[in-house]
Amino acid sequence: MKVEQRPTDTTPKEALTDKTTLLKLYREMLLIRRFEEKTAEMYQAAKIGGFCHLNIGEEATIVGIISALRPADYVYSTYREHGHAIAKGIDPKAVMAELFGKETGTSRGRGGSMHLFSQEHRFYGGYAIVGEALPIACGTGYAINYQEKDEVVMSIFGDGATNIGAFHESLNVAKLWHLPIVFVCVNNLYGMGTAVNRASAVTEIWKKACAYDMTGERVDGMDVLAVRRITDQLVAQARNQHEPSLLECLTYRYRGHSMSDPDTYRGKDEIKEWQTRDAILSLGEYMKNQKMLDDEEIQKIDEEVTAQVEEAVKFAEESPEPDPKDLYRDVYADEAAS
């Protein structure tokens, strides 16, 4: 599917020049890329079961939006959320262990790939019903206002979710109740195998914010600096003015919808074309041009994150399975009821 880019942010790249920040963004994107490549490998080796949706290709969007948050801010996500969890600070070991179904996983092996969670990191979960988490994110936004805190909620979902009722109900009350939420649509152009223009009457998803008199923005989701800059603005708006917004990040998943997707609905040329705009390569090039990074350092970062991923796999492999006697644990908060 062809889309027209509409970067609304015209600030020059130089606005984010701090080397430490750029290195952090680069490293996180590469970590997510290597983590997901390893995840695919482990899935093919049958170490991971169920459905498995990868973030490969979407790293700039993920790191750009989530790095704009504070640790106390909340993230609600979808079933394609391994990278989101890592970007929010969850140890890749706990994420990999969850994919392996182990007791040491983020959800003690009860959730799996689609249901990562961490109270400590305010990563409020991966949800596998499209659009379901948006109303829940609104509730957390309501609680923030109720408790008079200055936290922000980031609600992340795909393009497919913007056609479901829950999306519209959520944007409506977010604006009506002045909730501190940034709604982020990760538009990877396909809801499973259905292209946006075959599912949505409005293909420029940011425009859907207009119906709720809400700020709507579209950004090149392959440019981590552009994503980060616009998200910084929208997070500040949510935090300081309690004004929600809708941010559309145009990006692309290089792999299929899930590991079991033969990917027959889009052309190989299209995939290659998006890969020429790879976010990790472009940031690397940019930093090299700025003399912030050289090939040797790039190689070193790659080795470090690859080792981190290997360590995550080792941890997951060696972790215990949940004990069968704990099957009924946590059905209820009071164990007597379980």
């Binding site: 969670f117 379901e132 829940i136 009722g165």
Partner: protein, 326 residues
């Protein structure tokens, strides 16, 4: 001890819990300025303000979703669904989210919320406002489901539900809001997992909940006049289902009738009967008799509606038949 209508007992419970705990807030359609469709929330917005009594758009999914997200972030929401039929619009939030979040996230969070909603027919409200669906929710692990039938239980169970750390479906009944009864003042808590015997008897056991409890009590009073001693077990705690009083009763009477206002198929009575067969089969002198609504969408016509929902006469006829006293 004051004599209160069910709606006022519920109102008292809400008011007391809101005063006790700042994290308790209410949300729903027309519960504030309008005072609630059935006046259960009367006066609460005036007393507690719009922050704690939140009038929502008519958008059921956002109501339940908001309650869940607020609960996960430390509040204790009490959501009102104007009727149980409306909750169908929000079933994803109730079942896939509220009920499953704790387990699927490995116990990493909890969802302490109450969803109050009335079911029940008999008011000529037709096929989209008259049903009883407590069995739908009682089927789901992760939810607690209660359906009190007296004002005292309504108050005590609502207070307990608000203090509970799990999602609780609190099933009310449109036909009971005006029913009066004695209600203890102040701190009165009724556990969510205990059923009890509301009337002692020796010849036959009648299990009922919500408005059918009242029907069963009336029927038992009539039966007594005809020399039949019926024991009425209140099945107010549907999930977790406390079977102990019913099992004890059946061991004494050897005959059981279940009464529910909803359809019998896959219903509350079916579950109770199965449990009794599993746990007290040898004590039974007759098959369990189940009474429920006619298996039709609730009709509007008054005459048809009257025969579609179970009443006192159905219980009396069934009890006599079971005892061979026709």
């Amino acid at each position: 001890m004051a004599v209160l209508a069910m709606r006022d007992a519920l109102n008292q419970a809400l008011r007391e819990e809101m005063k006790r705990d700042e994290s308790v807030f209410l949300l729903g359609e027309d519960i504030g300025l309008y005072d609630g469709s059935f006046k259960v929330t009367r006066g609460l917005m005036k007393e507690f303000g719009e922050r704690r009594v939140l009038d929502t758009p008519i958008a059921e999914e956002i109501i339940i979703g908001t309650a869940i997200g607020a609960a996960m972030a430390g509040l204790r929401p009490v959501a009102e669904m104007m009727t149980v039929n409306f909750i169908m619009v929000a079933m994803d939030q109730v079942v896939n989210a509220a009920a499953h979040i704790r387990y699927m996230f490995g116990g990493g969070t909890k969802v302490p919320l109450v969803i109050r909603t009335p079911g029940g027919g008999g008011h000529q409200l037709g096929a989209q406002h008259s049903h009883s669906h407590e069995n739908w929710f009682a089927h789901v692990p992760g939810l607690k489901v209660v359906a009190p039938g007296t004002p005292a239980d309504a108050k005590g169970m609502l207070k307990a539900a608000i203090r509970d750390d799990n999602p609780v479906m609190f099933i009310e009944n449109e036909g009971t809001y005006a029913v009066k009864g004695e209600v203890p003042d102040g701190e009165h808590l009724v556990p969510l997992d205990k059923n009890d015997v509301k009337r002692q008897g020796d010849d036959i056991t009648i299990c009922a909940h919500s408005r059918m409890l009242i029907v069963a009590m009336d029927a038992a009073a009539e039966l007594e006049k005809e020399g039949i001693s019926a024991e009425v077990v209140d099945m107010r705690a549907l999930r977790p289902l406390d079977m102990a009083p019913a099992i004890e009763s059946v061991k004494k009477t050897s005959r059981l009738i279940t009464v529910e206002e909803g359809w019998r198929s896959y219903g509350v009575g079916a579950e109770i009967a199965a449990r009794v067969y599993e746990e007290a089969f040898d004590y039974l002198d007759a098959p369990v008799a189940r009474i429920g609504a006619a298996e039709v969408p609730a009709p509007y016509n008054k005459r048809l509606e009257k025969i579609a929902f179970p009443g006192k006469a159905d219980v009396i006829v069934t009890a006599k038949a079971l005892l061979g006293k026709n």
